[in-house]
């Protein structure tokens, strides 16, 4: 199940673990990324709290946690090569995996059609 947030994150749910990344739209808006900072494995994230930082040549931007949960895995590949986020943001360039506190919270997020409406 693929869900989206108004902050341009995507979330793919498998059991109670969500894989989280930023959308193609967000990657396009940010431009060429040169730096990614990910949360620590084991970090407790809260919905809409800071989860990661991405930097383009021009500016730093925050990536927010879509829901409450604990980080179980992070994607070192995008730290080593931030340009992966520009080339494959909704595939190989996932950011982190989050063990959700309440799986039912995903119901409050947007589906793909609603997100597409949002970005026009």
């Amino acid at each position: 199940m693929l869900k989206f947030t108004a902050e341009h994150e995507w979330l793919k749910l498998e059991g109670d673990v969500a894989t989280v990344g930023i959308t193609q739209h967000a990657a396009d808006q940010l431009g060429d990324l040169v730096f990614v900072e990910l949360p620590e494995v084991g970090a407790e994230l809260t919905k809409d709290g800071n989860a990661a930082t991405v930097e383009s040549v021009k500016a730093a931007s925050d990536v927010y946690s879509p829901l409450d949960g604990e980080v179980t895995e992070v994607n070192q590949a995008i730290v080593d090569d931030p340009s992966l986020v520009n080339s494959d943001p909704q595939g190989a360039a996932w950011f982190f995996k989050l063990k959700l506190k309440n799986v039912s919270d995903v119901d409050g997020l947007m589906d793909e059609a609603a997100y597409k409406d949002l970005i026009g």
């Binding site: 431009g31 060429d32 040169v34 730096f35 900072e37 930082t53 930097e55 383009s56 040549v57 021009k58 500016a59 730093a60």
Partner: protein, 378 residues
Amino acid sequence: MDDQAALRTTPLHALHISLGAKMVPFAGYDMPVQYPLGVMKEHLHTRAEAGLFDVSHMGQVIVKAKSGEYADAALALENLVPVDILGLKEGRQRYGFFTDANGGILDDLMITNRGDHLLVVVNAACKDQDVAHMKANLADCDVTLLEDRALIALQGPRAQAVLAELWAGVSGMKFMDVREVPLHDVPCIISRSGYSGEDGFEISVPEAHAVEVAKALLEHPDCEAIGLGARDSLRLEAGLCLYGNDIDTTTSPIEASLEWALQKARKAGGDREGGFPGAERILGELANGTTRRRVGLKPEGKAPVRSHAKLYADAEGKTELGEVTSGTFGPSVEGPVAMGYLPVSHTDAGTQVYAEVRGKYLPMTVTALPFITPTYKR
């Protein structure tokens, strides 16, 4: 959207839109920050081939003495700028800055001897204030802001080849030469200069022909349109100051490590020693040094350290030293680059300091500027 409506546009605005530029407000103008190529590729293309930049937002100002004599205009402007303008030869350009009574910097500018007058190019954000400043202080001169000319920068190792398609004589120009030349029968003023660290040109074009000249240059396969994003990373790698970031009224030219811009004639013992605002402080600092200096800073990790990041002597953030004034990722350096001010006790190359970024203290090394090797054709 009122802010948007109030934004000014340059004569190349429609061309930027047609090229797919992402537009942003900058110094009151709606300007291209990047094109579909993206900041990273635009930067690298400029260093490898040639980039075309719209810098029409900058102020082009004619300063002409009422007497019609170049020397009178030059001596008048020397009252506001601590550089040798009288000694500037016809068809030559020089970098300078307006100083204030406290020895701070009001703006930086390029000054050209155009025979019987001066052509001065100032920053967009400061141009109204600069023109007012000159009108108020250059009593026997006419000061005219040219509202009907575009300014196009063409930068990079292939800039000469690109411009040669329109004017074969370009190869005879050296760094800081200025010539009036017809391009496509359009009278243009060309200087061999720029702000990228590369060889290149700035071309002043009558507004009505700006698109035609820009398109003719862009027709060359080696030439791409480049936005303000890459302009900033290029100038930072080249160690060049951005007014408002690296220099302003709180920084003196000596603190800013710009003493190279002061010629002998204006320094102690020179023919026209002093005689500019803040001379006492500036010449005093030349003789006795300053307490702080602008330096290059190379972050050791991969994280860019941006302007206003605080600098510390230690990794715990106990002893504050100063702050970063410009910082970004340098595509040619392939890593983050920055500039900032540090006490002279910490300005030797190789000195390690720490920048506070998101609650962490990241090590940075004081590094000689520029970060790249400039290719100016001297």
